[in-house]
Every structure is written in structure tokens, then in C-alpha cells.
């Protein structure tokens, strides 16, 4: 009895969704290890990060937006636009650094514009970011209808560069960048006033305003963060694919939203953890590797499993919210 009380005190209910996400990750990964000999290797874990580094970065940006109670449907399209801008500017002979700055700048600017429209014209985030998604995809095709492969040598070298960890596990630089983004975002969300205001706006915008917090800055700011993360995610994706293409990352916004929700962040805003979103991405990645390990199972099972997980988690969240109410 007393141990029960103790454990419930140590894991307050607010961590329950994240704990559940982590449990699902452990279970799916465990299932893989039991079923396939080579599954439980360090490299498979490393590959989860390698194959999903861009998704992690996008999920970071989306978490900011969803924490305020908003949504950003443009992330996949902005990522695609970034691959396109990167590929075309690099091929045009721009120095890689300038190219990278251009990409990140345009992503953040697009996010800023969407945020301003959402906040100042009170148009629903859903519609504004949907328009942003169309705009970004359209701009891709305006640059080129075809896929543009990246030939710039320094960029290719960076893409193929590998970090070898003890145990012969190799990681790409993308993973390092993604993890750095996660750390930076954790810092911003938990240790700066901007980050806490993001949570505050999601909890109750009117209360936050009465408390004298800079709510407008937070509401617009999250879309800038998301735009920046989408652009950076797009850069990582172009490192992964070594090309720019308007049809890259189609539907990725849905995967990202699913990862964030599975990671325990409430779409109503105010509740959730960044690490949850990261674990959410890892769950999606594990499901994908499981299905590819199985071989006989078709890839569309991934979608069905993700849908089922999504359902399980929203019902779980719903029950928690009801219990609190």
C-alpha cells in the first residue's frame, strides 16, 4: 500500500503519457529483439536515429506549436522546399554555408509570416498552415519540377561522414545535429521565459495575459521555431537523400503530428514533453524497422499500426483528462 502511494508520488500523473510512450517503445523494441536475432544490436538503435534524424527535428518544432494549442501542417512542405533551395543553390555554386543560411532563413521567415497571420488576423492555424503547405510545395515546383540531385562535393562529403562509436556503431552528423537541436529546444522550453510562456499560452491564454506574460511573442514565436526546425529538418533530409525534390517528405506532417501525440503532448495545448515527442519518433521508427525486418509484411502495415497507436494514445489521454476533471 505504501509502496503504491510512493510510486504514484514519484510518477505524477502528468508523466503517465510519456511513461506509456516509453513503455510502448520498450515493448515494440523488445518484441523485435525476441523475434529477430540481429534486432537488438546497437546499430539498429543507431539506425533509428540515423533514419529519423529529420523527423526528430520536425517533431521538436511541432511540439512547440502544439504546446500553444496550435498546429502546423506546413512542416513537410517547408522541409521539401528546403531540400529544393539547398539543392538548387548548391548546384548554382553557392558556398555551402551561405546556402544553409538561406535555407534556414527562408524557413524561419515563412514561419514568421504564418504566425503573424494567425495571431493578428485571427485566422485558424489549420487553414493558415495549410495555405503555407500549398505555398511551400508550389514554390518547390516553381524552382524545378524535376528532382535535383546535389553534386556539391563538400556537402556530399559531410553527408557520408560517419562517426564511429565503440562497438562499431556508426552514426551520421545528422544525428548529432538532431540531438543538438533537442538539447537546445529543451533548454529553451524549460529554462527560458519564452519557453515557459509557450506552456502558459497553451494552459490558458487569458490567464497568461493577465499574469503579464508576452503571449503574442510566444504565439508568433512558435511558428518561427517550427519554420526554422522544418528548414533544418529539410537540410538533414537532403543530406539523407542527396537531392532536392518537390515530392520529398509528402505527408510527413502527419507522421510528425502522430509522433508528437503519441509522445504524450495534448493537442489542446499546455501539456507535454519534448522528450516524449522524441520517443514518439523512435516508436514510429521501430514500427517501421520491425515491419521491414519481417519482410513479408507490406509497408502499409506501418500506417495501420501508427493509426492504431494514435488511437490508443488519444483515448488514454482522454481518460486522464476526464479523471482530472
Amino acid at each position: 500500500m505504501s509502496t503504491l502511494a510512493l510510486s504514484s508520488a514519484r510518477f505524477p500523473q502528468r508523466f503517465l503519457p510519456v511513461v506509456a510512450t516509453f513503455a510502448v517503445f520498450v515493448v515494440t523494441f523488445g518484441a523485435g529483439s525476441v523475434r529477430y536475432e540481429n534486432f537488438a544490436s546497437g546499430q539498429v538503435v543507431a539506425n533509428l536515429f540515423v533514419d529519423n534524424s529529420f523527423l526528430i527535428v520536425l517533431a521538436v518544432g511541432m511540439t512547440f506549436v502544439i504546446l500553444t494549442g496550435g498546429i502546423d501542417l506546413s512542416v513537410g512542405a517547408v522541409a521539401a522546399l528546403s531540400t529544393m533551395i539547398a539543392a538548387s543553390t548548391l548546384n548554382a555554386g553557392w558556398p555551402p554555408l551561405l546556402s544553409v543560411i538561406t535555407v534556414l532563413g527562408s524557413g524561419a521567415t515563412l514561419g514568421l509570416l504564418m504566425g503573424l497571420v494567425i495571431h493578428h488576423f485571427e485566422v485558424q492555424p489549420f487553414i493558415v498552415t495549410l495555405a503555407g503547405m500549398f505555398l511551400a510545395r508550389g514554390l518547390c515546383f516553381l524552382i524545378s519540377v524535376e528532382s535535383v540531385s546535389i553534386t556539391e562535393p563538400a556537402f556530399r562529403e559531410f553527408a557520408s561522414g560517419a562517426i564511429t562509436l565503440p562497438g562499431d556503431i556508426t552514426l551520421t552528423y545528422s544525428v548529432v545535429i538532431a540531438l543538438a537541436v533537442v538539447l537546445a529546444a529543451l533548454y529553451v522550453l524549460h529554462l527560458t521565459r519564452f519557453g515557459r510562456t509557450v506552456y502558459a499560452v497553451g494552459g490558458s491564454e487569458s490567464s497568461a495575459r493577465l499574469m503579464g506574460l508576452a503571449t503574442s511573442r510566444a504565439k508568433v514565436g512558435v511558428y518561427v521555431v517550427s519554420g526554422f526546425c522544418s528548414a533544418l529538418g529539410g537540410l538533414l533530409f537532403s543530406l539523407y537523400m542527396l537531392s532536392g525534390y518537390g515530392l520529398h517528405a509528402v505527408g510527413m506532417e502527419l507522421d510528425v503530428i502522430a509522433a508528437v501525440v503519441i509522445g504524450g503532448t495534448l493537442l489542446a495545448g499546455g501539456t507535454g514533453y519534448l522528450l516524449g515527442s522524441v520517443v514518439g519518433v523512435l516508436v514510429l521508427g521501430t514500427v517501421q524497422s520491425l515491419i521491414s525486418f519481417e519482410g513479408t509484411l507490406s509497408s502499409w502495415w506501418t500506417k495501420i499500426v501508427i493509426g492504431a497507436l494514435l488511437l490508443a494514445f488519444i483515448v488514454l489521454q482522454r481518460l486522464i483528462v476526464r479523471r482530472q476533471a
Binding site: 487553414i127 505555398l135 508550389g138 518537390g246 500506417k303
Partner: protein
């Protein structure tokens, strides 16, 4: 009020049509061949039929403060079921009925999540949006299933002077307009969308109503899915109805129905669907790559939404009110 809302989409549509005529004077030409009506306008109508149909269902969902992201996936499922059944030697009519029943069930499922479990519509329907297409792929085993069935073909590419697809969409639009406006359904839907608490206290069965509109949206998506698949004589689970939910939502929003729920306009939705389809055609006529349509779509959406936004409306109203001071309700004072 409604007329004011329809102004901007009408302007957009008129501009597009004028632009088309300027570039290609034959745009307005119609000719009859083998008892079929042909011409650019007929093409626009035919290609826009599935979007229009889905947008009709979406209008009612949005009027209740909801949204249905799963319609594209449901459309893919409808095509997959019908084609799989027909290619397995099944009867066409049974295939169609089977597909549509499943779609209604899927709509009921969405309605259950929203009205009974109280899950936000956007996330509740995201479940089916994600899983649904996977389900359709499962049915077709990842293949594009082609069928050669003259009867089935009629749904998407048949003609009764006009394309059958557009006749179906217009018939549904008219039926919905009649049913919701001649019965009390439309008023109750709007009441639920505008002020759910007032509706509840007045004894409105909001749960049943919400459930019904999602089921109906599922049905519309199903019929649209059959049109799409019949038009190409095949079920392509991967790309059939891809992003159609976004086009449908845009059609509704351009048509002046607010995503915040409440007053809806089916005429507006029809205009919105026409704007979107004409835009696509226009861009094609002008000779811009098809994919770039998206940029124009974004511009039109943002323009219409900004013009309809609360801020803009407020600014316009403020100007009107300083001209003619009116006494408004006193609610502001309370609290």
C-alpha cells in the same frame, strides 16, 4: 449576411473565368457530340465533382465545429472495396452498396470518437486518415486493381448529356440543401455549432446530430471515391483521393463557412469547389506546370481568408458603425 460572405469567392471565380477567356477564347465554347456536352466548363465540372461532393459532407461537419481529415482515405477505401469485389467476379450494384456501407460505418466511427469520447475532431479523424489508406492498401494488396465493368465505369465517366459524376454531386448538393433547410436539421446543426451549451440546455440532441454529420461525410467520401476509381477504371489505394480532404476544407472555407462552426452555406461551398477546380484548370491553360497550381491556391486561400477574417470584418464593421451608430447588446457590460 450570406450574400456578403459569397462576394469574395464570386469575385475570385469571375476573375478566373475572365482570365481564362482572355487567354483562351474557346474556354466558354460548348459543343454536343454523340449527345454528350463537351467543353472546358464541362471538364471543370466533371473534374470538380468528387471535391464538391466531399465538400458538401465537410460543410455539415464544419458547421458543427468539427472537421473530417479522413475523407480522402475513406474515398480510397471505397474504390478499393468496389474494385476488389468486382474484379473478384462480384456484382456491380452489390459492390457499390458494400463500399458505401463500409464508408458510412467509418463515418460512424469518427462520429463516435468525436461525440461520445469527446476527442477533438482534428485528431479523432487523423486516426482514420493515417490508418485508412493503409487499410485500402491492404485490401488491394498494394496493387492497382483495374476493372472492366461498363456499369461501374458510368459513375465516373458516364454521360447523361452532362457527366454523370457532376449530376450525382449536384443531386446530393440539392438533396442536402432541401433536407437540411426543409426539415429542422440545418437549424439544429447550426445551433450545435454556434452555441453548443445553449443547444444542450434547449434539449437539442447534439450527440446524435454530430454522429449523423460524420456518417454522412463518410457516405459522401465513399461516393466520391467510387467516382475517382470509376473514372480511371481502377483502384489506386495510394493516390486516389490524396489531399482531397484539404481541397474540400478549402472549398468550404472559401465558401464562407467558418471553421469555428455555425452558419453554413452550401451555395458557398459549391462556389468554393468551383474556384478551386477552375484555378487548377486556369493554371493549366496558362501553361504553368500543374504542380505550381499550389502556389496560386495558397494565394487565393490566404486572400479570401484575410478578407473574411474577424479582424478585417471588425475593421469594416467599425467603419460602418461610426457612420451609423447602432445600439448593440449589453452583454459586454456583464462580468
Amino acid at each position: 449576411m450570406t450574400r456578403g460572405r459569397l462576394l469574395w469567392p464570386l469575385v475570385a471565380l469571375a476573375t478566373l473565368i475572365v482570365l481564362n477567356i482572355a487567354v483562351e477564347p474557346s474556354f466558354v465554347e460548348l459543343r454536343i457530340q454523340d449527345g454528350h456536352l463537351f467543353g472546358s466548363i464541362v471538364d471543370i465540372l466533371r473534374n470538380g465533382a468528387p471535391t464538391l461532393l466531399i465538400a458538401v459532407g465537410m460543410t455539415l461537419v464544419i458547421a458543427t465545429r468539427g472537421i473530417d481529415l479522413s475523407v480522402g482515405a475513406v474515398a480510397a477505401i471505397a474504390g478499393a472495396i468496389a474494385c476488389t469485389y468486382i474484379s473478384g467476379g462480384g456484382d456491380t450494384v452489390t459492390a457499390v452498396l458494400l463500399a458505401l456501407s463500409v464508408c458510412v460505418l467509418l463515418g460512424l466511427w469518427n462520429g463516435f470518437l468525436v461525440s461520445v469520447l469527446g476527442i477533438q475532431p482534428i485528431i479523432a479523424t487523423l486516426v482514420l486518415m493515417t490508418a485508412g489508406r493503409g487499410g485500402a492498401m491492404l485490401l488491394t494488396e498494394g496493387q492497382i486493381i483495374t476493372v472492366k465493368d461498363p456499369l461501374y465505369r458510368q459513375i465516373g465517366s458516364g454521360f447523361l448529356i452532362l457527366p454523370i459524376a457532376i449530376l450525382i454531386s449536384l443531386a446530393v448538393l440539392t438533396a442536402v440543401a432541401l433536407i437540411t433547410r426543409r426539415t429542422a436539421l440545418g437549424m439544429l446543426i447550426e445551433a450545435v455549432g454556434i452555441n453548443p451549451r445553449a443547444g444542450e440546455l434547449a434539449g437539442v440532441r447534439s450527440r446524435t446530430i454530430i454522429w449523423t454529420v460524420y456518417a454522412f461525410a463518410g457516405l459522401c467520401a465513399g461516393v466520391a471515391g467510387l467516382m475517382i476509381s470509376s473514372n480511371v477504371n481502377a483502384a489506386d489505394a495510394n493516390s486516389a483521393g490524396l489531399w482531397i480532404e484539404m481541397d474540400a476544407i478549402l472549398a468550404v472555407v472559401i465558401g464562407g463557412t467558418s471553421l469555428a462552426g455555425g452558419r453554413y452555406s452550401l451555395a458557398g461551398t459549391m462556389l468554393g469547389a468551383l474556384v478551386i477546380q477552375t484555378l487548377t484548370t486556369t493554371v493549366y491553360t496558362i501553361g504553368v506546370p500543374t504542380n505550381v497550381t499550389l502556389v496560386f491556391k495558397a494565394v487565393v486561400v490566404i486572400a479570401v481568408c484575410l478578407l473574411q477574417s474577424p479582424r478585417t470584418t471588425k475593421m469594416l464593421r467599425a467603419r460602418r458603425e461610426t457612420a451609423v451608430p447602432t445600439s448593440r447588446s449589453q452583454e459586454v457590460a456583464a462580468g
